[in-house]
Point group: C2
Chain length 313, copies 2
Amino acid sequence: MSLLVVGSVAFDEVETPFGKCDKMLGGSASHFSISASFFGDVRIVAVVGGDFGEEDLRIFDHHGIDTSDLERIPGGETFRWGGRYDYDLNVAHTLYTHLNVFADFQPKLSAASRDARLVFLGNIQPDLQRGVREQVPQAELVALDTMNLWIDIARESLLKTIRVVDLVIINDAEARQLTGIPNLIKAARTILSWGPKALIVKRGEYGAALFTAQNYFAIPAYPLESVFDPTGAGDTFAGGFMGYLSSQEKLDEAAMRRAMIFGSVMASFNVEEFGTSRTQRLTPDEINDRFRAFKRMTTFEEIPFQRAVQSTR
Amino acid sequence: MSLLVVGSVAFDEVETPFGKCDKMLGGSASHFSISASFFGDVRIVAVVGGDFGEEDLRIFDHHGIDTSDLERIPGGETFRWGGRYDYDLNVAHTLYTHLNVFADFQPKLSAASRDARLVFLGNIQPDLQRGVREQVPQAELVALDTMNLWIDIARESLLKTIRVVDLVIINDAEARQLTGIPNLIKAARTILSWGPKALIVKRGEYGAALFTAQNYFAIPAYPLESVFDPTGAGDTFAGGFMGYLSSQEKLDEAAMRRAMIFGSVMASFNVEEFGTSRTQRLTPDEINDRFRAFKRMTTFEEIPFQRAVQSTR
């Protein structure tokens, strides 16, 4: 009954207009798994180097994240990413990307991992994603994230992978780039026509939307007066979304809608501090409070209009 | 018990990637009043030239819009605007602006107009807006729209006018420009601190948000697979919003929230065809159907999460 994530574990160096952090736990699998861990059991498939210490591992342990399939290469170095944000926090400027041990990452799934009910294929090379997907044929829901790089250099492989997953979770620029269609609604319909049963489009400060063949569901972002560090918001969203779903018996439209809210709640906490610092400290009450806030800020009464009585003219 | 709008009546020439229209009814007061007319009585204060014919006037008459205060200057020409949209339909490229009779527009309110319960100050010079506002001291709700031009060249007058209205309806770029604050939530709080009880921020394809001292309410835009001509969408939104409010006895938060939906519904129809062609043909059933669609696409069950039972590790 568990949730599996395949992705990167990294050390991030991030500079924003509000501060600087030299080395902190980052990577898609880290953000995803810490977020998901609040909702259910999660297993991580990733690779780290000899520089990944006990104190780093303890963060996963502390959240009950299963790291049996976290491969460690003692002679190698962990993936490192450096980025900078200006006042427009929607745009990350990459300063460097040292793939290190991640360059030769070949996801290896143990028997327990192959038993996962839900699988999240984090943003890695699409051939690798497809390789993992083939190892979990019985999974109830397999989701995929990707990025502009793979759309540019591995488009055909990415399209092949999209055809064999149930859910695609990307941002609006990626949806447009992937399809070449500027209208997001049309772009979404096109992606769904390739095979996935559902598509989630993340829109940053504007919220997120869920597209299925029959339905459209859209939510705003939680209103934050300051965003400190947006790194990992997308993976934290996916972690909250998939984590919540893993706690549910039925993965129907109603559960997916609530999962969208929990994903947004987790992302809204994530951006309040550097890296995973804020999410690491979260409590179930804080999460549920913000879930209820989403209800308050999106609710209206369904009363059709009747024209006011016309005055005599 | 009526609704008053002060603004422009124009002839628009618009070119989009999907077609071209040489001369059609446009201007803030036209879009606003046609939209509002579905919900209640509306009176228009504006100016036109001798070229504004009977067939143009008939459009207003047909919608029961009171044009007693529509001034006609036989020797002058009606305001004309020409614009072009590329595939990014969010950006209008102005080809020309011939203010004509609108250059010397001095809004004149009859006794009946000064009796209006709700007043919308369309996008005109802020001194003129304030002059109108002073003539309707008893109005229950006075709302204001503006644009980047007035923020640039008449900022002090605009701030004075904002201080004496109840509601500001602008887009997100204008909210940021007006306050110099990039974070929209902070910018909104700042605008509210100047006096208005409420602020609506229009976000185009991303929907709209309502800010009050106590509450935040955000809605997505209606998902359209094609946008034909976005001209007038903002005024059509305001018309639906204010028109719906004018049909309600109590102008409370719940009514404002429903009004946000009706505003968005009207704007979503407006962009489907050139100018006001689509809104002119609307029926109450079509409006209520799309209102119900908004409910379907924003509803989720308020069920707090409980962590799934942990497996034994």
